[in-house]
Point group: C2
Chain length 331, copies 2
DNA sequence: TTGTAAGCGTTATCAG
DNA sequence: CTGATAACGCTTACAA
């Protein structure tokens, strides 16, 4: 392995000077800079990051902890974080937690032991951040809040947007609205359900009928399809469904297709992106999550923390945009 | 920061003993192991990986270099690699190259400077691996071969499977087959095109009509839709289309839908997974890439190399499975 | 089995 | 501006 000593010898300077040339902070005479660069080039020298990190107690690694990188939402989020990180000279360590607290804890331990410069994480209700926080490792949460920890968070305006989208269903003339949301432990599932319920209460003057609330896994469309089919074949079926993510909406469309009941006969909200279908049924209401924006915002906030920003924890709420196929304008 | 010295003092042993307890290789008396573990627990000690790596010249980081993590195929591949890596105690560093040789080079440099234990990469035609190979960093290529480098590779049987799928189109009675494939610089685009051409030659006895070959970007469905529409509205349109990936197939279905020409009226192969559509049109032929298998195989091969396996470079070709909706059996 | 001590490659300190 | 030199936290001969 080529070290600064080899480069120093070849360039006729001291190792310290080589270090300064690559560090960039301390000024070095131009001719020596040239000599060092040339020598390094000839020898194929690359600074050893481990030695540097050991010495400086710094690191250019950011841990990205997500439930499942195979989920497109987290994938785009990760991509956005990686873009910002790379531009700032950081590398991203990928940590798939599967929403498993044990795995998350293992990764937090790796992060502490690395140690990483900071952590961007999508927490679960059971997340325990103590390990990281005790060690002063900056953490920024995205998409969900970390329960009972006072850390930065970047989330979308789920509840408000859900209520808006639901109102559009009423505006389109639907009266009996169902909500198909995700698992109870996931924050966004509940926020979206709450927003739907807000709009229902606002319109009907009373609490929503519990029979019109269904839950299914966020990840696969089959579970959503089953739940939607069940809703639509119940004794008093809804005339519109609020689907809390686009996979649930895809499943719902499959179920509706089986029943020959596609929109606009039945109202449908696809929350967070269009469903994966051949054509967009008329009347379909789609909201768009600011996924990339969430990722870049979180990464930027983390970089600020890493740079030493000593300010109180912030919670950023990003707006969700909406396509209303009827009015072509969004509230 | 808590070091082995702190733990040693508290446990009443030497730093070396603490190191040995955490290293696990050298035997230590049971009572001292206990004492060390307790002390470490109480102090919240985590071994510093940078110091360890500096000393041992080893690293538990694997670089995963992919064109675009936002592409579901690479996402699943990455997920598979991460699973194998984590099980073996390795972390994954995510490197998005966008198929940009400059970015790739930057990342190779980071990988050398880290230094990482090994690299799993999806190379492009322009990939230059010299940096890594000179430094003896093990590299395994997935999905595509690295041009003119003698390194391990795990690829799918694209050409053969493409020919098989194309034969199914002929078997279904179609006669004039078009091929909608990806960009020319991408190896799989050309392999799939070649397989399609093999089957066409085999059936017609002559080279395929160049007018029946179209290229579109792999990533978005719009480009494929445009190309498919163009093919179908040409003077002598095909009666079947071989779409070289599922996004192209999705775009093709959109185009066919606009023309009211869905399968089985027009034959269609969706290569590498089902298209994202509401229902599966009858007669659609779908092939399935062994994505997860490719990822786990590549990661496993890399771990072998890291462990020191000194064997010639291997090229593993994984089979692609096929659903034939008509025969329900696959060649 | 255990302890001592010498590095691993870099950066920071402190004279010059 | 530059050069010697001492850490950074850990592993590993070598000795005991």
């Amino acid at each position: 392995m080529v070290t600064i000593y080899d480069v120093a010898k070849r360039a006729g300077v001291s190792p310290a000077t080589v270090s300064r040339v690559f560090g960039g902070r301390i000024p070095v005479a131009a001719d020596k800079v040239d000599a060092v660069r040339r020598a390094a080039e000839e020898l194929g020298f690359v600074p050893n990051r481990n030695a540097r990190r050991l010495r400086t107690h710094s690191s250019e690694i950011i841990a990205m902890m997500v439930p499942d990188i195979a989920n497109p939402f987290f994938t785009v989020l990760t991509r956005a974080v990686e873009d910002v990180a790379r531009a700032a000279g950081y590398s991203v360590m990928l940590c798939n937690t599967d929403d498993d607290p044990v795995r998350e804890q293992e990764y937090l331990r790796v992060a502490a032991s690395e140690p990483v410069a900071g952590i961007v994480m999508v927490p679960s209700a059971a997340s325990r951040l103590d390990w990281a926080l005790e060690r002063q490792v900056p953490v920024v949460c995205v998409d969900r809040h970390a329960p009972s920890y006072d850390v930065d968070a970047v989330v979308a305006d789920d509840r408000h947007a859900s209520a808006c989208a639901t109102r559009l269903l009423y505006a389109a003339g639907h009266e009996r609205l169902a909500c198909l949301t995700g698992p109870a432990p996931v924050e966004t599932s509940n926020e979206r359900l709450a927003g739907w319920a807000d709009a229902v209460r606002e319109h009907t003057g009373s609490d929503p009928d519990p029979e019109l609330i269904a839950r299914a896994r966020y990840v696969d469309t089959e579970d959503g399809e089953r739940a939607a089919y069940h809703l639509m074949t119940s004794p008093r079926p809804p005339d519109a469904i609020f689907a809390a993510n686009n996979r649930l909406a895809t499943g719902t469309l499959r179920a509706l297709h089986r029943l020959s009941l596609l929109p606009p006969a039945v109202g449908l909200v696809s929350f967070g992106g269009p469903p994966a279908v051949l054509f967009t049924p008329p009347g379909l209401i789609v909201t768009h999550l600011p996924t990339i924006d969430m990722g870049t915002t979180a990464a930027t906030m983390l970089l600020e923390r890493i740079a030493g920003a000593d300010i109180p924890a912030r919670s950023i709420v990003l707006p969700i945009t909406m396509e209303d196929p009827q009015h072509h304008a969004t509230p």
